[in-house]
Each structure stands twice: as C-alpha cells, then as structure tokens.
C-alpha cells in the first residue's frame, strides 16, 4: 500500500520538474584563445558616453573593455529587436511591445543590438544592472526618435544573471515594453514580462467571480460523485 503512493509522488515530482525546467540554450561560443589577452582593467577609464543625433541616441557602449569576471571575450552575437504597437497585439491589455521579450546570451559575449523602431514615436531598449565600472548607472541604452534604427554594443559579464530591458518613455514599460536578457541562463525571471511572467499587482477582472463559481460547482459535483460511489460500495459490501 505504501509503495504505489511513493511511486505516484515520484512521478509527480518528475513531471513538475520537466515542465518548469528552462531548456536554457547555453551555446557557449567558446572562441579561439587568441582573444584571451587577460587584460586587467582598473575602474577608472574613459566611457564611450553618449552619441546623439536627430535619429536618436546610443549610450554607454562597450566594444572592448572586458568585464572583470571574464578571462576573455568568449564570442560575439548580433540581435535585432523590433519595437512597436504591432507587437503588442499578441498580449491582451498592452499597447507597446518588442517582437521578443527574452534573449539568452552566453557570458562574456560581445553583443551588438539593433533596435528597429516601427512606430512614429520614440522608443528605447534600455538594459539595467551592468557593471558600473563599465557603464555609468549600470545602463546600456538605445533610443530611436521615430521610425528608424540604432545599433550599439556591450559585453555580457561572466555571472549568471537576468537583466531588465525596457522602454523608459513614460508608461511604455507598464503598458508592455518590458523584457529580460538572460546571461548564462540567467538567475530567474523578472515579474510582469508580457507572455512570460505574471504582474506583481495583477488586474481584477469582472469575470473572475465566474471562475470561482465554476470552482465551487466542481467541488459540489465531486462530492456528489463521491457520495454516490460510497452508496454503491456499501451496497456491494451488503451483497457480499
């Protein structure tokens, strides 16, 4: 009697694990050792600062400074991000969105991001939490003033971490433009990412009362079934 329940619990655990496990694509692009210069950078150095023109701006780029926890730059990646109201149609109750809301990047990788703005208003791709000795305020930032694009480069640090990416035009993050960039598989998910995680302060919708009605009805029906079964079982016992 103890054995089957133990088996059942084990199966359940395996099932839950397999569902929640993230098949994190860690294609560690281990590059040639010729890049492994082991340069040790001190905290004070020139920042690339800001490049700004009528089309928008690129802020706090980093093309060549290795993060302290990287022995060498392990590889390069290019990503293109499209931004606009069109992409918000996939997520009910949002207005602005990116074409993708999660990117997986290996550690110590030089990433070149192109933000393609498909709207006729300003949009941003702002990444937070990078090392402050490389990026003022820990920020890497692309901003496109309307239709058009901007490209910038930064280098992912060595640690497993999930970085916040968003558009900081007033209320754009709140209304959908929130995403995450996972380095080395990341260290969990951020809240309120469209299509990925729930809001910390979720909405209350009118039909949620209907949901509870269905739940309570199901409970009643199940109890009824159990009672009926017990009745039959008793009859069986009597017949025996």
């Amino acid at each position: 009697m103890r054995f089957p329940s133990f088996l059942f619990i084990t199966l359940l655990v395996i099932l839950v694990r397999s569902v929640s496990a993230q098949p994190a694509a860690q294609e560690s692009v281990a590059k040639d050792s010729e890049h492994a210069h082991h340069q040790h950078h001190v905290a004070s150095h020139e920042h690339h600062g800001m490049q700004m023109d009528a089309g928008g701006m690129v802020m706090n780029e980093n093309h060549d400074q290795q993060p302290r926890d990287c022995g060498a730059i392990a590889g390069e990646q290019k990503i293109t991000v499209r931004a606009g109201t069109t992409y918000a149609q996939r997520f009910n109750g949002t207005i602005f969105a990116y074409d993708q809301h999660e990117w997986n990047i290996p550690p110590c990788t030089k990433v070149t991001v192109t933000l393609e703005n498909e709207d006729s208003v300003r949009h941003q791709w702002m990444l937070h939490g990078l090392p402050r000795y490389l990026h003022p305020e820990g920020m890497f930032h692309l901003e496109v003033n309307g239709r058009g694009s901007k490209t910038g480069t930064f280098i992912t640090p060595g640690a497993k971490k999930t970085y916040l990416v968003h558009c900081d035009v007033a209320q754009h993050m709140e209304k959908g433009m929130k995403a995450q960039l996972k380095v080395g598989g990341g260290d969990g998910n951020l809240p309120s990412i469209p299509g990925i995680t729930a809001a910390r302060y979720p909405e209350t919708y009118a039909n949620s009362s209907r949901k509870w009605a269905i739940v309570s009805a199901s409970i009643v029906v199940l109890i009824a079934i159990e009672l009926v079964l017990r009745l039959f079982w008793r009859k069986d016992m009597k017949n025996l």
């Binding site: 208003v121 920020m139 003033n145 007033a170 709140e174 909405e203």
Partner: protein
Amino acid sequence: MFISRALKFFLFLILLAAATTFLPRAWLPQFLQSYYTTWFGEPSYEPPPNSQKIAIQQAEPFCPDVHPEWRKQQEVEGVSIEESLACLPDNPWAVAAFVKGTNNVSMDTLMKSGLATDAVVLGEDKDGDGDPDVVMIKLEVAELNGRSPDMEEVIPAFSIAPGIQPGLWVFAPKIAGMATKNIETTEANEMLRAPSPVIRVEQGDTVQVVLENTHYFPHTIHFHGVDHPYSHHENHGNDGAPETSELPVMPGENRVYEFSQFARAGLHTGHGEVEPGKQRKFELAPRQPGTMFYHCHVQPQHHIHMGLQGMFVVEENRPNNWVQTLNIGAGHVRHRSVAVREKYVREYDLHFQDIDSQLNDLIKSTNDPRLMEQRMNRQYNIIKRSANYFLLNGRSFPYTFRESLIVAEQNEKIKLRVLSGGEDGLSLHPHGHKVTITHYDGVEHNPQAQITRDVVWLSAAQRVDLELNTTNDGLHSYGPGVWMIHDHKERAFTNDGMHPGGSMSAVVDRSYLDEKGWPKTHGVDWAPFFTPQYYRREIPVWTTYDPHGMFGEVSASTVGVGKAVLFGGIIGVLLGGLVVFLFSRKRG
C-alpha cells in the same frame, strides 16, 4: 415560594434603579434626568478629555533650492536669460534651447536641457528680419502618476503639493532618455510636468506642431483661437475634432499640424513625407497675435481635465524677434519677445486648471487600457463632476510659492497672460492691486475703454492679458508687500477642501524676497503645510499658534478606567441576576 420570587424580582428592580445612578446623567431619558436632579442634586463635574498632543511630521524644506545658480541673469549660447528670483527657476539651458532651437545649440546645452535634438527645430528666416520663421515643435504625450504592474507607487511621480499626486496627462517636449530623473527615483523628469508647455511663436511664422503620440490612448490637438484653416489640402481636417475633422492619432503614430500661408492658398508645401495611415500633415498660419489655447479634442470632457491643455501665444511680428518657443511649467518668461519688452519689464504665463480626483485617479486603478477606457469613457460621469484640486502652473499651494510668485518692484508694468483651463471659471483676485484687462481671448480690448478691477472673471477656456501696474497710487497698487493672488471661488484656495491650498500664489515686492526667492511673511508657521499629514486632515488647523491647545485634537477616551470597571461590573452582576432569575422561574 411565590412570594420569595416576587421579592427577588423586586430586589432586582431596586438594584437596577441603583445602578442607573452610576450612569452619566446624560445617558438617562430626559424625564428621569430631571427627577434625579431633584432627588440627588446637580451631577458633579466630570472634566472633558484633554487635548491630544499631535506629533507634526518633519516638514519638507519650503524651498529645496536645487539650482541657486539658475536664478541669476545670464547668457547661454548667446541667448540672454532674464533673472528669475523664484525658488525653483527654469533651467537656463532649456530656455536657450527653446529660443535658438534644439537643432542650433551645442551637445552640452542639449544634455543640460535633457531635450531631444528634434524637440524644437528652427529654420529659415523667410522675411529676412533677423529671426527664424519656420518652426517645428514636437510634442509627446506623457502620463504622470500612472499605474505600474510592479509596485504600488505611481510612476513617473509628480506631486502638485505635499503628498498629493493626482493622475495627469500632459503634452511634453520631446526629451532624450528616461521619464524619471534618474534610475534611483520614480520622480518625473523635470521636463515632464503639468501644465503642458506654453507654446510661443511669432505672428506669420510657418509653424509645424508634430504630435507624437507616446501615450496608450488616442489623442489630437485642437488649436483653440489660433488662426488655422479648417480643411487641409490633403483631404482631411485640421481642427483636431474627431467628429468633424480628423481621425485621432493612435498610440505610436504621429501627426504634423501646420500653420502656413501656403495651406490657406491650397498649395502643396512639400513639407515632410506622408506615410499612409501613419502620418498626416496639418497646416495652420497664425495671422493674428494673442494669448490662445491648445488642447486634445478626443473625449475632450475627459482629456482636457486630464491635463492635455496648454497656452499658445502668438507674439507680434518684430525684427530680430527670437521668442522662447516653449515655456516649461508656464510661469516666468525668461526670454521675452520684442513687443512685450517694449511695454513691460516682466512677463508671466499663468495657467489655471482644476482636477476631479475621481476622474484623474482612474489611471491608477488599472493597468489594462481596455478597462481604463470603460471606466473613463463609460462609467465616470462628468455630469456629477466636482473639482477638488486647483492648479496654477501645475502646482497647488504651497508648491505654487516655489515656482509661480509674481516678482515686482515699485512703478513697474508687468504682463500677465492668464488661461482659465478649468471647468468652473476663474475669479482672479490680486490683493493690494487692481489690474487692467488689455486683451480678451487674444484680441485687444479698446484702449479707451479698458477696465481696471480687482476681480477678473474668466469663463472656461477664456484667456485675458492683464497689465499689473505697481504704481502706489491707491488704485493700481497699495504699495509693496507679499500680496496674495488667488481665484476667489472659495473652494479654489483649498486642496480637496483643506485650506490653505489650491491655485493661490502672490505678487511679491522684491524687497520681501530672501536670497532663495522665498517671501518673508509675517503670519503663521508654514511647516504643517509642507507635510502630507496636514492635507490628510490629521493636524488641527490652528495648532502652531495655539500653545494651550484651546483648539487641539480631543482625546478619544472620556471615562476613567476605575469608573468603567465599576459600571461594567454592576451591569455584569445585574445581567447574571436576570439570567438566574429567568432560569429558576423555568425550573419552578
């Protein structure tokens, strides 16, 4: 048996009567009270509860004095910026960028102003009189004090007074970077604020106003009182009204509104590309100068009150007339037009508006734009509207004193441009002065028949230009001082009913200002007004000058503990007796 039970009942009644003598006399029925007084005499003195000591929170500094160096008269990029004695003066780099155009200033100035390169683009001098006549202004739509799915706080936060953050929408200049001051705070970037900026152009300029709808709802701009043709040569309207003129600009779209002589003649100007369904061009040309108005015309009964309204000033044409294209937060004009400098020593833009929190705070109630559409457009009913906050240049008292003081010296003429953006009109009353109305709705009033008075009535959406004359003749001015100027509708000098508040400011003689631009007042201590606690109604209003607590908060407990226990005990014994009596009767 029977007798003993009757005796018990009688005893019970006697006990009950005895117990009533312990009750406060006022609790008894009126007829018993007079009997008791006759039998037992006047009740003895019970001291009323003490005044409660209310701990008043640490007040914010009256003047945060963030940028004292911004106050002085200075030159930035060759643009002369007038002295501004306010506690929080306008950013001189932003003023310079608005005068020269964000396309004509250095990267350093642009970064210090926080503006985008294409925020205000100034072009060609068409009439060759030494100033630019082709102007392109880009306006975004910013939400202030909105909802976040990630936290309870509003974002980007904008306080109109201590602890008061009503939901607002504003037209805002096109900025670069974040909507907050920095990544550590939820406080709004200083370019994102109420009211929507004052737009200033020169008469006859070819003006394009580009609405870049960064907001999540549809919007338009209607240029109220500004000369513009009804219809546009590209087969759509030019008047901002969705019912008669044009489709609203949807989120992520933009539209160019234009003021140009060519449009009136029906000629193609060749400005900009028209992208089907995404961008449209509007042409307008202000032939007449004056103080005008612009506002959103989509669901205007809501959008105007949400804050999508601003002042639009067309300055008279003069040679070498570089006007300050935008005045952020209205107020003091630090680079005045040639025509205003001819007659006046200073100029202030005064934008009054009001708020009904029941409408404005709907944006804090949900993050789903569909639910917000329902709550705002179909559930809120403006017929039942009652405004509870009153703003002057985006703030209520006491914050109005940080930004919107009218600084005067004796024997000066000062120009005030006033917009009544609220629904209930404005009874503008300056203490110590009578002002002369020179213009109504941008049109000059007959100079022979101009009216000088101390209450100026403006109906909804109306503008007046006022001449404030500080000649101490007992008519125009009664001399120097810290003279209040306020809407005389009584509710309008409160914050949700708490006085002092609302759109109140002051006309202050320079000699009454300290080095931070704060007025030297004689009256009460302002510390409580700089706490959210005061406006939460937690501080008795006269506390600071009522040392004995004559008007203090009454303590809650009125009965001593001993008396309460005695009284409760008697009641308990009696109830117990009653239960025993009833129980024994049943058994019997």
